[in-house]
Amino acid sequence: MEGSKAEEGNQTMKLYSHWMSSCSRRVRLALHLKGLKYDCINITSVGDPELLKVNPMGYVPALVDDTTVISDSYAILLYLDEKYPQYPLLPQDLSRKAINYQVASIVSSSIQPLQNTSLVNYIGEIVSPDEKIPWAQYHIRKGFVALEKLLTNYAGKYATGDEVYLADLYLAPQLDNAINRYKLDMTEFPLLSKLNKAYSELPSFQQMLAETQNLDADKIFGLVKKLAA
């Protein structure tokens, strides 16, 4: 959790965030890259009244920028990129830009929603607790197979070249989840493994990812169950 001072007399942005949420991490990485100060408000329970007052949908992350309230990490990131153009999150080249959108979508639509802890817990309830990890690994793996192919001709030091872009903001937290929470075998993903190593060498990324490095899946499921109760 970060606290910060107001910037140049403007209202400081507020980010409602959950410490375990990879969606929140994407936004925090972007805010850091753009050098934007913000108050990080940690939401600890589903239906937190403070969050609902600001964002009736109750989704995190939610960004409050003066009178504008935005939830959904993709929407927040594109909003930030348009309003605060320093450190652009997208390359100029249309083809490379499209690759960034594709990576973001593959993670945000094909992977993250299917491996998020509340859904995995639900699978545990309606199918069996033994199915939780296999379910999560199956969907992560499926998405990673696509990403490994997609980035073959585009990756440089990072996912789509030698600069950190939108794609990297999505990949870094997802890779962390896959490797540390779900213990996915990364042997068939040399490119993604290389990217994960590159992210681990960036101080900003390390700071963001350090929090749950040592928690295993069962602990996390237990925590989420408590939060949702």
């Binding site: 929407a75 348009e82 499209a98 959108y101 979508s105 993250q112």
Partner: protein, 223 residues
């Protein structure tokens, strides 16, 4: 497979699409709104044609929809629509106002991240096999219901004739197929969602939407 008239073969856009795929449906609407001719290339997802050697040669990741524009290949409906928006700016799919743009992005992503992935073929097959054939519909309705409740809240203060005002934008491109599919494929009770119901009626009047309907596609099964 259908070819449309009015454009040289070499310049024609190609869309790899499945008639019933709501992601493909989104792109078809966007292309129609922008008045873009395209060649329809059917990929039968039910038969697994996305894994066929022919399609994988076109799109190594095997995703549908996929757009081919000369040398450029884009897959994923959101990426395709954002690409079209930049390359073919006619009939903008995003409003000028930054806050309204953000509402559009939010609505599109509630559909594409919170709803649609939970109803894709792979997931439904799993639920059917592991829980039971009767579990499929309740599963889908639960997730659609959650997303629709969020959308009703999100759009409350922004909707006009369409989702975010009186013009058709990105939010509508994503909402229209989702609402249509929820009603026709999954028999969702729309009574709790009066705004989305109203939007659905408005979409049904739009030629760009009608032409994109599953039943109007070349690969819609003949009865």
């Amino acid at each position: 497979m259908t070819t449309s008239s009015g454009q040289e073969e070499s310049k024609k856009l190609q869309l790899y699409s499945y008639y019933r795929s709501s992601c493909s449906f989104r792109v078809r609407i966007a292309l129609n709104l922008k008045g873009l001719d395209y060649e329809y290339k059917a990929v039968n997802l039910l038969k697994g044609e996305q894994h066929s050697p022919e399609f994988v040669k076109v799109n190594p990741i095997g995703y549908v929809p996929a757009l081919v524009d000369g040398d450029i290949l884009v897959s994923d409906s959101f990426a395709i629509v954002m690409y079209l928006e930049e390359k073919y700016p006619q009939h903008p799919l995003l409003p000028r106002d930054l806050e309204k743009r953000a509402i559009n992005y939010q609505a599109a992503n509630i559909v594409s991240a919170s709803i649609q992935p939970l109803q894709n073929l792979d997931v439904l097959k799993y639920i059917e096999e592991k829980v039971g054939p009767d579990a499929k519909i309740p599963w889908v309705q639960k997730h659609i219901g959650k997303g629709f409740a969020a959308l009703e809240k999100l759009l409350q203060n922004h909707a006009g004739k369409y989702a975010t005002g009186d013009d058709v934008f990105l939010a509508d491109v994503f909402l229209a197929p989702q609402i249509h599919g929820s009603i026709h494929r999954f028999n969702l009770d729309m009574k709790p969602f009066p705004l989305l119901s109203r939007l659905h009626e408005a979409y049904m009047q739009l030629p760009a939407f009608q032409d994109a309907l599953p039943e109007n596609q070349p690969d819609f099964p003949a009865t």
